[in-house]
Symmetry: none
Subunit: 169 residues, 2 copies
DNA sequence: GCCCAAATTGAGAATGATTATTATTTACTT
DNA sequence: AAGTAAATAATAATCATTCTCAATTTGGGC
């Protein structure tokens, strides 16, 4: 069985639920919703579908618009509410930057860090083993045993740098 | 001359302006405002005074309320505007957490990161030049120009490790 | 000190993201 | 299938922050 990139955390010994990037099973999604102690509704399934197949790091608004194409009767409060539930139970991870709208992604199975553009909010994911090794070293230095970490880099992406350079009067 | 904890960044070769925690000079504050290419006004001086003498990590609202006691005619747009200027030029650092209002502190002279014990909450501050160099490298790799970063390590401190080992239920 | 252009201000309106309210509909238990 | 607690859509409300703009203040020359 081929495993995909995302697992809905928190992972539990026996009942890991893994969602495949491109194809996934309606029943898996339903199981996931029940695991949150919520009722299965068509709206929640739509939101999950959109989250699974779309690009990562979407805003609530973007998700809403995408879903509205299929079901124009959905309300955005529903999207926000469900995202909040998912975030509280760590099934999605919320990333906030400056005053920009929050972005959400299915909580990735393997950790990565973020490089965020402070102008447009674009997020680049990266992983750097050297940095992680140094983090371990720092922790050891102070006698700590390390559990996890948050590393967020903020800067200006190439596109926004270009825009600034040309648009400057 | 005794140096205090804060320096208004960006530090420049010849004209570092250092503000003392408890006592500071009106002229220093004026020089600081001019360095931002702004005009000196009583409102801006009040805001700086409040920032200097107050505790760190205040919200714009808290600052506004504190200042309003001395000058009830001040508008909060003025506070927000000035904080934005200061933040853009790195004289204050904005910290955002969840959807909560932003908090501001005078940019500390030396950057540090946090190593936090997830059991007792103890925080150890550290600085690691190697990690920062690697961060720059990652940013460059993606064409980003880096502004700042947040690195938080979470683990268990030596004391709590000992407690756990002995006090195991 | 006085003048004036340009910068700054306060008040309140505007904005944008997110949350609360509520009347109605829907999902799950028995 | 029926009852009930939860979920929904629509919309109003909220909250932080920014914008607008008329009135005031600042700083650089005279």
């Amino acid at each position: 069985m081929e495993k995909s990139e995302f697992t809905f955390l928190p992972r539990q010994k026996d009942e890991d639920i893994t969602i495949h990037d491109d194809s996934y099973d309606e029943d898996e999604l339903k199981a996931l919703i029940r695991r949150l102690n919520l009722k299965v509704t068509s709206q929640r399934l739509l939101i999950l579908h959109a989250l699974c197949e779309g690009r990562r790091h979407v805003t609530a608004q973007e998700l809403y618009e995408k879903i509205a194409k299929q079901d124009s009767s959905i309300g955005f409060a529903t999207v926000y509410r469900f995202l909040r539930h998912m975030n509280e139970q760590k099934f999605v991870t919320e990333v906030r930057m400056g005053g920009l709208p929050a972005r959400y992604e299915l909580t990735p199975k393997s950790h990565h860090d973020h490089l965020t553009c402070s102008d447009c909010g674009q997020i680049v994911e990266f992983e750097n083993k050297q940095i992680e090794a140094l983090q371990e070293k720092v922790a050891k230095q102070f006698g700590f045993s390390l559990n996890h970490h948050v590393l967020e880099l903020y800067g200006v992406c190439p596109k926004c740098q270009a825009t600034k350079a040309s648009g400057k009067k």
